[in-house]
Subunit: 132 residues, 4 copies
């Protein structure tokens, strides 16, 4: 594992499952966000601290391909990786696995942009560039 | 109907239902919040405008009694009423009905307190007192 | 407007907004699902009835491009359209607008597949094909 | 710690925070549900297995008193305890603390009832009684 990727283990909550007993597809986006937060943290930076300093990240694009369903109480493993970076944007890739079977449940990609408190796009700060 | 109560009609979303096919009990609190927002609006005040002026309401207490389940795509009718008010707090009562059968699904009560941007309790502003 | 598209008006809920005051990007997927439900309903079919008959739709792919943020209490207009259909899958396209300004907030596309109660892909039933 | 209580550590997610930057009060109910799940698990029973066997628990009553806000990325400690039990119902008490400061954030109580697949109240099964 290098600085540009991290694994996160999580357990499916009851409230996240829909009437079919599967995790509702919208909640995967929350899992990916948790992956980005952990990736930052392991690089020595907390996203909360970033916001305190006036830097925010907004999701510009997201795409996901759902392969197999996740169910209530399943333990999942999420791999989050940085796949590209510019002066103002970061691309991430995600692969979500069932922890026991190691089967791939979902693959996804996102682009986030750095903005200030007013939502204006700004350059990613240097202290962050070194951390990610 | 008087200024201190209002009815709100809403339809149950798929994502709000759990593996039993019932609305997850936590989402009722969101319905109640929508009821409070509508009650304010019909009194001529938007909660968003309130926040812009530096006044926020935080939930201090809530209690709910669940009588019958609501299901996906059900249309519901929510009655929201002010039951008490002090200089800094407002108590609301809620009754949620199935729109077609008129059967009572849930009864609840909450207390909200007025705070400023830093979370300090402040007096409910006069322009709001007249509206609610 | 034809049978293959519909408009849905909705109001942003407080709980849907994040610490920036914007609608969290994951909730747009819920709006799109509401759009699909309405499109079915206006075609004379309720998704709930579909599930009762043993037909379910699962999201296979989704992609979204976020243009501008939506805020608490904003009224939004969602256009949902069928863009393609096979024996087992339906593709939808979405355009979400701010109701007052008519500015485009988000564009998205999804693919859903018809499955039975056990999650096995099955042909979309004929009574549904005529309705959509 | 005895069989009738357990501690659960959790971290606040970005999506759980509202425009004030605080955890939305409805999400605490999800935390409490996670506490109940963990309490069962440590008693040797998974709630998922219970549902497979045809036993479900529905929330009948809940009340919560919010003392202090929780914020994004905060680590929290939740104590879940069984406070009473009858043939068909279980009462739980909850105390949610900020992990670092040990300050109490929220106290709550709930009543859940055992039902079968059709929502009819049934006796809590014996194998469960011994586990909790």
């Amino acid at each position: 594992m290098n600085a540009g990727e991290c694994w996160l283990r999580l357990r499916v909550r009851y409230v996240e499952c829909d009437a079919m007993g599967y995790v509702h597809h919208s909640h995967y986006l929350t899992y990916f966000e948790m992956g980005r937060t952990e990736l930052l943290r392991r690089g020595g930076i907390s996203y909360r601290e970033l916001e305190t300093r006036g830097f925010f990240f907004v999701v510009v694009k997201i795409s996901a391909s759902y392969k197999r369903p996740a169910r209530y109480d399943d333990e999942l493993e999420l791999l989050t990786r940085i796949t590209n970076q510019t002066r103002v944007r970061i691309d991430h890739g995600y692969a979500l696995y069932h922890a026991d079977s190691r089967r791939l449940l979902c693959e996804a990609a996102s682009t986030i942009a750095c903005v200030d408190r007013d939502g204006k796009v700004v350059a990613i700060p240097d202290f962050l560039r070194s951390g990610i």
